[in-house]
């Protein structure tokens, strides 16, 4: 049993935003990075699927990015993943088709039984990388999965797809398959301090992706959108703000 988990080291912007000189992206000095929340759930689910199967098999975690993305991989190693691969790739690329393709190059030789990804990344919200990756791997896929029951004997998984409004679509999928995991499916474990220290010593394999040939879009420019007119900021301390809120509420509900 081999499960591959794809993760992203997502950007978290601070209060101040500056752009690169070509204005096609945010200057990386103006954000922090962390393991994507959806991907932490995907990693946790991979570990739980393995545990339910008696602990046999391997969980491999893969990311696309520069050296700083090793932190996201180490987090997953500390959670219990066995091995990590970082695909070195043009870091300015957000395009899910290009990322999906780069991931597929590293995953094909692994021949996994399951590939888990997060539904979306908190910084780009494209909801597309997993489904594009499934196509490049020529595998079936299920997007927005809130529950997985994997049957290793029949090589099938029953998935609960979370539709709009909380409606659940129960889907049976042949595996190997790519499953895009939704938050709320589990609560990702917190690694112990010891596990974090151990993970820092584990080796991360580096793979380079050819890239370039496959793309979906090209970013022409990025900018901070103007705030819509009419958004009135309430000044003063908490007491002043509360008084104004109370007035507005009374007026609107009158």
């Amino acid at each position: 049993m081999k499960i591959v988990v794809c993760v992203k080291h997502v950007a978290v912007l601070g209060d101040e935003i500056r752009f690169t000189t070509d204005e096609r992206d945010v200057d990386e000095d103006y954000y922090d990075r962390t393991l994507n929340e959806w991907d932490a759930c995907a990693a946790e689910e991979a570990l739980r699927i393995r545990e339910r199967l008696g602990g046999e098999g391997e969980v491999l975690v893969v990311t696309v990015g520069g050296p700083s993305a090793d932190v996201a991989l180490q987090r997953c190693l500390a959670m219990g993943a066995d091995r990590a691969v970082r695909i070195s790739f043009d870091q300015t690329v957000h395009d899910p088709i290009a990322i999906g393709h780069a991931l597929s190059e590293a995953i094909v030789p692994e021949q996994p039984d399951l590939v888990l990804v997060g539904v979306q990344s908190s910084d780009s919200v494209q909801g597309s990388t997993g489904t594009a990756l499934a196509q490049f791997l020529d595998l079936p896929r299920v997007a927005v999965v809130k529950k997985v029951e994997y049957d290793h004997a029949t090589r099938r998984a029953t998935c609960h797809r979370e539709l709009e409004g909380g409606l659940v679509d129960v889907v049976e999928v042949d595996t190997p398959a790519v499953l895009a995991i939704q938050t709320g499916i589990n609560e990702p474990r917190y690694p112990t301090f010891r596990a974090i220290k151990d993970a820092e010593r584990k080796e991360i394999s580096l793979v380079s992706a050819a890239g370039g040939a496959v793309s979906g879009y090209h970013v022409r420019r990025m900018f901070v959108p103007p705030k819509p007119e009419g958004a009135e900021m309430l000044d003063g301390g908490p007491a002043d703000v509360a008084r104004r809120i109370a007035e507005i509420v009374k007026e609107r509900l009158a």
């Binding site: 919200v125 597309s128 299920v142 679509d169 129960v170 889907v171 879009y217 970013v219």
Partner: protein
């Protein structure tokens, strides 16, 4: 380039609103508009789909009534082959996510998702989408792409309406057996509260920090005469049930007043707030996306405001 292909989305025999929004966006792009509807009996949808702006409805019969991603992918690929549209429009929905990116990856199409604005430029189409927690917008284009598949944000376009007189074409597409098969739909459990009927929602988000804080906001809502609602992270954490969740995967609400405490305003959350009610947002992050849609905003500590409100409504 030969017009725009819109893919209709339906669930339990009803067309979803996003379908008509896609038609409106297609009309904005210009050129002939074809709408594809894939169902066990697609003829049930042709009347409702005959709205202004639709030139043709293409009906494709499928074995399963509900969505299956392999079926949609193969049918849309066959239609692209057959019609050669310049643009293919899908909703940025859970179903759309299941096949749209695969079609684009397979056929090498231009592609972008969660697009909320389109504009025609001399050298092609510009699509706008958000990055970095919606704090930044980007204009993206598709140089060298003959065809472009776009997944559009639900609610971003006003739905097309008015009667139209489209031609109806029946198309037969042979598909291979789906590898992911629809079994059944299961409704979320009914809650003890109906937040969709409330005039005044006090809505709390991740900013409250811990589960232990919830009772104080329940009490505050009681004092203010509000109904307590929440954003997704509180439901994911198991602190509240889905019945109180506002957003795409929760409920769609239309309150007169929506007081958001510690809610950043993710797109999926904002998708659940409709109508012309007054949104008041309190958040310590001055760049929080919620301030982009709020009528009133305050950058202060939500606990201090909550305390002051509790005194005012004592």
């Amino acid at each position: 380039m030969n017009g725009t292909l819109v893919v209709a989305e339906h669930l339990r025999g009803e067309l979803r609103d996003v379908t008509f929004e896609l038609v409106a966006a297609a009309a904005e792009i210009g050129g002939p508009v074809s709408v594809a509807v894939i169902a066990r009996d697609p003829s049930l949808f042709t009347d409702a789909l005959s709205v202004e702006g639709v030139d043709e409805i293409v009906t494709v019969q499928a074995e399963a009534e509900e969505f299956e991603n392999d079926v949609y992918q193969q049918v849309i690929e066959a239609l692209i082959e057959d019609r050669g549209p310049g643009f293919v429009l899908l909703g940025f929905t859970v179903n759309g996510m299941g096949y749209g990116p695969a079609v684009a990856a397979k056929l090498g199409l231009g592609f972008a998702s969660d697009v909320f604005r389109l504009s025609r430029e001399e050298d092609g189409l510009l699509a706008r989408r958000a990055f970095y927690g919606a704090k930044v917008h980007a204009e993206v284009d598709f140089p060298g792409k003959e065809r472009v598949l776009l997944m559009l944000r639900p609610g971003a376009w006003a739905p097309a309406e008015g009667r139209g007189d489209p031609t109806i074409t029946d198309l037969s597409v042979q598909v291979t057996a789906p590898r992911a098969r629809h079994l059944k739909l299961v409704d979320p459990p009914a809650g003890d509260v109906d937040i969709t009927a409330a005039d005044f929602l006090l809505s709390i988000g991740r900013g409250i920090g811990t589960r232990e804080e919830i009772p104080r906001f329940e009490a505050l809502a009681g004092k203010m005469g509000a109904t307590l609602s929440v954003s997704r992270p509180l439901v994911d954490a198991g602190w509240m049930t889905n019945a109180r969740q506002v957003g795409q995967s929760g409920k769609t609400v239309r309150p007169k007043v929506y007081l958001a405490l510690g809610i950043s305003g993710a797109v999926q959350h904002l998708a659940g707030i409709k109508g012309d009610g007054t949104i008041i947002a309190v958040n310590t992050d001055p760049e929080a996306a919620i301030f982009g849609v709020a009528r009133y905003g305050a950058v202060v500590d939500l606990f201090e405001v909550a305390e002051a409100l509790a005194e005012l409504f004592a």
